[in-house]
């Protein structure tokens, strides 16, 4: 080797593969305003649709008169349930096995429900005319409290299923009951509680919130009558699922539906489901023969498409008096709104909620979840989490603190005593989940040492004493959370959506000049997929990341996949990408062996080339092999260099983390100030540390919003009172704390590159950490559980209830 030859390390650096802070390729267009979002799409003759919505939460629809609306110049058509019935689309199936009204059929069951769809030449005319649709309502008694939904005299919300004894998930015990779902071993859990030294029981409520991405849900539908083909552009986190569901609902053959998800302005779970707006735009395009655009406004977004959480979790822990947890029980009432439109894997009506045993070695556990109907919007999406994992993490992390308090143990010491130990992995939980890998004690120790936890506790003690002496009106709270997620849905034995196994895919074509394209079944909404997938390929194939184009979102060109949510892109499609690369590499090795006239086994891989073992000057680079694949393949070998992989993961991945929050509470105003927030995440192999850090910053900010102020609130009459950014808290740069990030790396043993996924960890771990910090501030005064969101009013009320204002 002469001195001009770059070393392996130098060549590896140039590839910009895994582990480097590669700048994002998508930014070039975004910083210039040249992204292509749905509302940027304009087609010749395009019309605009807008909804007339119900002012009532529950009412019979006596009459709908569209005459005045239809007479407005520029209005092309007005669609009601009666119109939709002619094409059998007045109702649509939900992902959760229920049905949902597309437009009000006989009655309305939540405020702002879709009643009529006006199609006009421009959006102003559509909005004007939507106001002129005359609807005669007869108000009915409503219920927005899930804990009263199964009362004997509760209003009947769903007359269509009132007498059905069986739902999609088994027997129903009340006309407002959706399902009961259980996991774990009830007898074992009950036995653990019977002989426990200490038990706690607390109703832990995770209120209804909304993902609220900055871009709302929207679509453009264009039906070509001559070809019988539908093209649908939309804000879809899962474009292929939309195509399949669209075909099943509309009866348009699936190959004649082209679904395209262009750039998406944030999703966070909001853009997984299928909404009435999509169906109405499609029908409107079929009816009018012209393309139809539907763009939701913010109020419509917050009040109708995809709420999250709304879980009422009565959580119990049993422990020995020296602090070993022996049992866990949780009985949950889940508010599903008026239709069960949860975006879960189909067989899991409460998602992966049985991850509720968290990061702890708990021998006996049982959960039971009852889903109920109320007069609230349907949805139930995972707001930046994997199917109800956030709810579970909140319940266990709150409950662990409450038990530590009862035992008079430090929450860190208590957790340390119960964390699953490194040598127990792979660990099978009481619910049967097999945790792939972890080193929890190392992570928690690192967190505790970095923040100087002992010193903080000493300072807090002094502050509490000063508070008692009346020298300060501030309290200091230290929140600790240790979370384990279950992401990467999922293995086909566990997960499907309407029968489609939750695999995902990657198709890679290497062109003759050594550049290539990778197409996937996932869809970025800001995660930076165009950057990170190329890094995996760069490392696997030894081609520069800059030479790989990543394309997602077009169902005609991308291989089938289930989309991006539940931190599944890297665990599933990332694995598919690596596996497809390995097929390509195996073929390239055979070509190299042929060219170098050696046996395959005499070659070894070196960053970007195959070289002859013991003779490193004889090599073929991947770029040379790409050319050869189209030029001089061995006799009998197919030319070309491409591969596809559909990856059915053998297991979920289990990212984890240790978070610590320090905040100060002013007991007279209820205001809180986050002094410090430290987040240590372990997502296995790290592909792009810059993007990981960005994901954590963003997720923590969402967690901050949820814990400290977000709530989709309904008054007793079913009016949604927090449906605009006037009332729904999105943190600005002023409130948002500064984030300190850290990591450990425990690769997943079953994932081809050891990566676990990271996007949702900060939301899952952040919410309990903030909440534990606020609760910790008041804990020494005897309070156990102050409910979220911890806005100034609630925090002031907590202080008031503790008699701190006397």
């Amino acid at each position: 080797m002469n001195e001009m030859t770059p070393t392996s390390a130098e060549r590896a650096e140039k590839l910009q593969g895994m582990g480097c802070k590669r700048k994002r390729v998508e930014d070039i267009r975004f910083v210039q305003g040249k992204g292509n979002y749905v509302d940027d799409i304009k087609l010749p003759g395009m019309l605009y649709g807008d909804f007339t919505r119900s002012p009532h939460a529950h009412a019979r629809v006596k009459k709908i008169d569209t005459t005045k609306a239809a007479a407005v110049p520029g209005v092309v058509a007005v669609i009601t349930a009666e119109t939709l019935k002619t094409v059998n689309l007045a109702w649509m199936p939900t992902l959760a096995g229920d049905v949902q009204m597309v437009l009000a059929d006989g009655k309305v069951v939540f405020q702002n429900q879709e009643v009529a769809f006006v199609i006009a030449e421009d959006r102003y005319t559509a909005a004007d005319a939507a106001e002129l649709v005359e609807v005669e309502y007869e108000a009915l008694p409503c219920n927005v409290d899930p804990l009263k939904a199964m009362a004997a005299n509760a209003p009947v919300i769903r007359e269509d299923v009132k007498d059905k004894k069986e739902g999609a998930h088994g027997p129903r015990k009340h006309y407002n009951h959706v399902f009961n779902w259980q996991a774990g071993d009830k007898a074992a859990a009950d036995a653990a509680f019977a002989k426990a030294d200490v038990t706690i029981k607390e109703m832990i409520v995770y209120p209804r919130v909304h993902p609220c991405p900055l871009e709302t849900c929207q679509c453009v539908a264009s039906f070509d009558k001559i070809k019988g083909e539908l093209t649908l552009w939309g804000t879809f986190q899962a474009p292929h699922v939309i195509r399949t569901v669209g075909s099943l609902i509309s009866k348009i053959p699936e190959h004649k539906i082209h679904v395209i998800a262009p750039d998406i302005g944030g999703g966070f779970g909001n853009k997984v489901g299928a909404y009435p707006g999509y169906i109405c735009a499609i029908v409107a395009s079929i009816v009018t023969g012209r393309p139809v655009k539907w763009v939701e406004d913010r109020i419509e977004n917050l009040s109708t498409t995809a709420f999250a959480r709304d879980f009422y979790m009565e959580t119990e822990i049993a422990a020995t008096k020296d602090g070993k947890v022996t049992g866990l029980r949780c009985y949950t009432v889940a508010d599903h709104g008026a239709f069960d439109a949860c975006a879960n894997a189909t067989k899991w009506p409460a998602g992966l909620f049985s991850i509720i045993s968290g990061s702890y070695d708990i021998p006996a556990a049982h959960v039971s979840v009852d889903g109920v109907y109320t007069n609230k919007a349907p949805g139930g999406v995972a707001y930046r989490c994997s199917f109800r994992v956030t709810e579970a993490a909140y319940a266990i992390e709150r409950a662990m603190d409450i038990m530590a308090q009862k035992l008079r143990m430090d929450p860190v010491e208590f957790r340390m005593k119960n964390l699953i130990r490194r040598e127990q992995f792979p660990y099978t939980s009481a619910f049967g989940w097999v945790y792939d890998s972890g080193d929890y004690q190392t992570a928690l120790n690192k967190a505790v040492e970095t923040v100087g936890y002992k010193k903080l506790r000493a300072e807090q003690k002094k502050q509490q004493e000063a508070f008692k002496r009346g020298e300060t009106r501030e309290l200091m709270g230290i929140g600790v959370a240790f979370f384990t997620e279950i992401v990467g849905a999922g293995p086909s034995r566990n997960c499907d959506i309407l029968g489609i196994a939750m695999f995902d895919s990657a198709e890679i074509r290497i062109h003759p000049t050594g550049t290539g394209i990778c197409r996937l079944g996932t869809k970025s909404q800001g995660q930076g997929h165009e950057t990170t997938y190329a890094q995996i390929i760069a490392t696997e194939l030894g081609l520069p990341a800059d030479n790989i184009m990543v394309e997602e979102g077009n169902t005609d060109t991308a291989p089938y996949g289930l989309g991006t949510y539940g931190s599944r892109s890297i665990p599933v499609s990332g694995a598919a990408t690596a596996m497809a690369c390995r097929k390509i590499k195996a073929k390239a090795q055979m070509i190299a062996a042929y060219m170098l006239e050696v046996h395959d086994d005499d070659l070894e891989w070196d960053v970007d080339r195959f070289r002859v073992k013991g003779n490193p000057d004889r090599f073929k680079t991947m770029t040379e092999l790409a050319w050869a694949a189209y030029h001089e393949v061995p006799p009998g070998m197919e030319p070309g260099l491409e591969a596809i992989n559909y990856y059915d993961p053998p297991n979920f991945t289990f990212p984890f983390g240790a978070y610590i929050c320090v905040l100060d509470v002013d007991v007279d105003t209820g205001s809180t100030k986050v002094r410090r927030f430290y987040a240590l995440d372990d997502c296995g192999t790290r592909i792009n540390p810059m993007i990981i850090e960005g994901q954590i910053h963003g997720g923590l900010t969402e967690a901050f919003g949820i814990a400290m102020g977000q709530e989709i609130h309904y008054d007793e009459d079913g009016n949604v009172t927090t449906a605009s950014l006037m009332d729904y808290f999105l943190p600005t740069a002023v409130e948002t704390p500064k984030w300190e990030t850290d990591w450990t790396t425990t690769p997943s043993p079953h994932h081809p590159i050891g990566a676990k996924g990271v996007g949702e960890s900060p939301n899952v771990g952040g919410v309990p950490c903030f909440s534990n910090a606020v609760n910790d501030a008041f804990g020494f005064l005897g309070s156990t559980n102050i409910p979220m969101p911890h806005d100034n009013w609630r925090t002031w009320t907590a202080a008031e209830n503790l008699g701190l204002h006397k």
Binding site: E215, G526, A733
Partner: protein, 166 residues
């Protein structure tokens, strides 16, 4: 509805158009002038995705009628880069510091940051956070946006950018 004639300068180009008097400026820019930078994220002037620069002020274009902008000099994100395509230092800074993810708030955020740096050459972190508090971002948690603006400020002033200690 009778239409009104408006003329204004948008990204250095003179435009003359007929508009309905009630047409919001954001719709005029997006629908009639075919710009794709300014976005619509709310109905209540909270999110700032539609922020443009109008006669030397940051303005939320969803809260202005087009006719009110008659005669105005407007700059949007599309007018930020140099004529030869060289990115504005803020555009470069946002990419360099990972100050964006989904990109939806980015045009408004950069346009606001541009005016902020006109108003104050070397703002403190607190001033930057207050200065962009009318622009919401759901992805980044703002930390890298703040860093990007600090980076751009340093570069404009010709001083080396130093990351503040945690």
């Amino acid at each position: 509805m009778a239409k009104s004639q408006v003329s204004m300068t948008v990204n250095g180009k003179k435009v003359e158009e007929l508009v309905e008097p009630r047409m919001l400026l954001i719709h005029f820019l997006r629908e009639q002038l075919h710009l794709t930078g300014p976005h619509i994220g709310c109905d209540t002037s909270h999110c700032g995705a539609c922020t443009i620069d109008l006669d030397g002020k940051s303005v939320k274009s969803c809260t202005v009628f087009t006719v009110q902008a008659n005669g105005a000099d407007i700059r949007t994100i599309e007018g930020m880069a140099a004529a030869d395509g060289t990115l504005h230092v803020l555009q470069e800074a946002f990419r360099e510091m990972h100050g964006l993810q989904c990109g939806f708030c980015t045009p408004g955020m950069i346009t606001r940051a541009y005016r902020l740096l006109q108003e104050s050459k070397n703002p403190t972190e607190e001033e930057i956070r207050l200065g962009i508090s009318g622009n919401l971002c759901r992805c980044t948690g703002y930390q890298n946006i703040v860093k990007a603006i600090q980076y751009a400020a340093a570069k404009i002033s010709g001083v080396p950018f130093q990351e503040a200690a945690e």
